[in-house]
Amino acid sequence: MSIIETRDLVRDFKKTRAVDRMTFSVEPGESVGYIGANGAGKSTTIKMLTGILKPTSGHVRTCDLDPMRERIGVARRVGVVFGQRSQLWWDLPLRDSFAILAAIHSLGEKEARSRTDVLVEQLEMGPQLATPVRSLSLGQRMRAEIAAALLHSPDLLILDEPTIGLDVLSKQRLREFLVAERRERGTTLLLTTHDMGDIERLCDRVLVVDHGRLAFDGSLTGLAATVGAQRVLVIDLAQPTPDLDDIPRTRLLGSESDGLRQRLAFDSEATTAAAVLAQVSARHEVRDLTIEEPDIEDVVRRIYAASGRA
C-alpha cells in the first residue's frame, strides 16, 4: 500500500489549471522533497491530499483513504505543518496547545503524556512549555508546530516550508530532529521547501513541479546529475596559501586575501565535503569552513529548461 497515490490528478481554478495530470506515489518510509516555483501547484496538491480541496478530476488516495470522503480518517494518520500559518493556540502557554491537540486526537492520558514528553525532549522545548505561543521565537514556534503535528504519531508528515525564515542553527536542529524521527518511527515525509539544504539532509527523492505538471521525479543524485548543480566548500586558512587547484574531484572557484579564503566547487556524487576537507587539512591548517548549497531556484530553473527541451 502506498502512503500517497495520485493518478492523472487535475485541479482547475476558474481559468487556470493549478495541477495538471499529476501522477506519482509515495511508499511508506520515503522522504520526498516537493519543489517548484511559487504558484507551481505545490500547495494545491497538498490541499487535495488532505481533503481541503476537491480535485477537478483524477484519482488521489492518502494513507489508502479518499481524502474527500474520509477526511477525518486521513486527519488521524497525517500531520501537517503549514509554514506560515500556526495551528497552535497563540494566547495560551505552549503546554496547553499540546494538551488540546492530544484531546482532539483522543489520545489516552498516558499516551499523551509520554508522546509529549518524548517530543518536547527531542525538540528541546522544555523551557518554553509555560511560554504563551505568541511570545515564542520563530525557530521555537516552528519546532512547536512540528511537535504538534507529530503528537498523534501520524504515518505521514507533510511540511510546507518548514525552515523558511529560520537561522542556521534552528534549521540544523530541525533537520536533525526530522532525521531521527524518520529513523525511529519510519514516518513518511513530504516537504515543500525553497532550501536546497532541506532537500539534501532530509530527502531521498525529489519531485519537481512546473506549472502543475511533474517535471522531475527521482533521486537527489539523479537531480544533481540532471542539473549538474555543485556545492561549494569555502575554506578559511590559517596562513596565506597558494591556490588549491590540485585537490582531486574539485574545481577551484577563486581565492581571496592572498589565499586566506578559497572556494572549491565539488559534485556531491563524486566526493563529499568531508573528503575534500580532509585532503585540504592534510596539507594546510584550516581555521573555518562553510558550505554553499546550490540555489534551489536555480535547480528548479534548470529542470524546467531541461524538461522544456525534452
Binding site: F13, L53, K54, M68, G73, D91, I100, I104, S106
Partner: protein, 274 residues
C-alpha cells in the same frame, strides 16, 4: 467515523477541553475581561432602554403592556446572548479563512462545524446575559403569569429552543459567508436583525414581514409566541396560544436550513478553494 462503542463523554472530551481552553485564555487578562463584561452589560441596558423609552410614551405596543414587553425582551435577549456566547463567532468566518484557521480545522480529525463552534467562547457576553436574566426574573415575578407545571416546561423549552434558533442563524450565516466573504455583513440582517425583530411584539409588523419572521426566519418563536401562552394572552391568528408549543419545531426548521447553508458553504470552499 465515530465509533458507537466509545462513550459519549469520551467523544465530547475534545470539545470540553477546547472550550475550557478558550475560557482560560480570556481569564488571563482580568482587567480587559472585566471591561468587556461591563461593555456587554451596557449593550444589554441600551437595548432595554429602547423598550423602556417607548413605553414612557405609550401604554401599549403591539398589544403588549410594559410587563409583557419586558418578558418578550427578556426571553429574546436570554436566548440571543446564550447563542452569541457559544457560536456568535461563526459569523466571523472570513477572519478564520484569512488566518488559515479553516485549513487547520480540515487537517484535524473532528467535524469542521463542531471545531469552529468550539474554537471560541465569548464569556464577556455574560454581561448581556445577566441583564436578560434580571429582566426575566422581574418579568416573571411581576407579570400576570398563568403559573402551572406546563408554564414552567414551556419557559425552559422556550429558552432552549430560542437559543437553538439563534445558533442556527449564526450557523447559516457562517455557511453563507463561505460565498460572501467581502459581503459578510449581509448575514447581520438576519442574525442581529433577527434578534432585533425577536424582541418585539410581532403585532407591530405588517403582514408580510410578520410571516417572514414566523415562517422564514422564525425568530417570532424565540419570545413573542411563547410569551402569548405564558401570559395567557388571547393572541391572534398568526400567534394562537397553542403555537407556543411548536417552538422546538421552529428550531428544527431553522437547523434544517442552517445545515443546508453550512453544507453548501463547505462544498463551495472545497470546490473553489476559499
Amino acid at each position: 467515523m465515530a465509533d458507537a462503542r466509545v462513550p459519549l463523554s469520551q467523544r465530547l472530551r475534545p470539545y470540553r477541553v477546547l472550550l475550557a481552553s478558550r475560557a482560560r485564555a480570556q481569564m488571563q487578562y482580568r482587567a480587559s475581561f472585566v471591561t468587556d463584561i461591563l461593555g456587554t452589560v451596557g449593550v444589554g441596558l441600551a437595548e432595554f432602554a429602547e423598550v423602556w423609552v417607548i413605553f414612557h410614551n405609550v401604554e401599549l405596543l403591539g398589544g403588549l403592556d410594559f410587563k409583557a414587553a419586558l418578558l418578550v425582551f427578556a426571553l429574546s435577549n436570554l436566548a440571543f446572548s446564550l447563542a452569541d456566547m457559544f457560536v456568535g463567532h461563526l459569523d466571523q468566518l472570513p477572519v478564520y479563512i484569512r488566518a488559515g484557521q479553516v485549513d487547520a480545522f480540515y487537517v484535524r480529525p473532528l467535524p469542521l462545524l463542531a471545531q469552529l463552534m468550539t474554537s471560541e467562547l465569548s464569556m464577556r457576553r455574560i454581561g448581556r446575559l445577566s441583564v436578560a436574566v434580571v429582566a426575566l426574573v422581574v418579568a416573571l415575578t411581576t407579570g400576570a403569569v398563568a403559573w402551572s407545571p406546563a408554564t414552567v416546561v414551556l419557559i425552559v423549552l422556550t429558552v432552549v429552543s430560542g437559543t437553538a434558533i439563534f445558533a442556527a442563524l449564526f450557523t447559516a450565516a457562517g455557511g453563507l459567508q463561505f460565498f460572501l466573504v467581502d459581503g459578510s455583513e449581509f448575514t447581520n440582517s438576519f442574525t442581529y436583525g433577527g434578534q432585533y425583530a425577536a424582541q418585539q411584539s410581532q403585532q407591530v409588523f405588517p403582514g408580510p414581514l410578520r410571516i417572514f419572521w414566523t415562517f422564514v426566519v422564525p425568530t417570532a418563536f424565540v419570545a413573542y409566541v411563547p410569551a402569548v401562552a405564558i401570559l395567557d394572552l388571547p393572541g391572534d391568528s398568526l400567534a394562537p396560544p397553542w403555537l407556543a408549543w411548536c417552538t422546538p419545531l421552529a428550531a428544527l426548521l431553522a437547523w434544517g436550513i442552517a445545515g443546508l447553508c453550512w453544507r453548501l458553504g463547505t462544498r463551495h470552499y472545497q470546490g473553489a478553494g476559499g
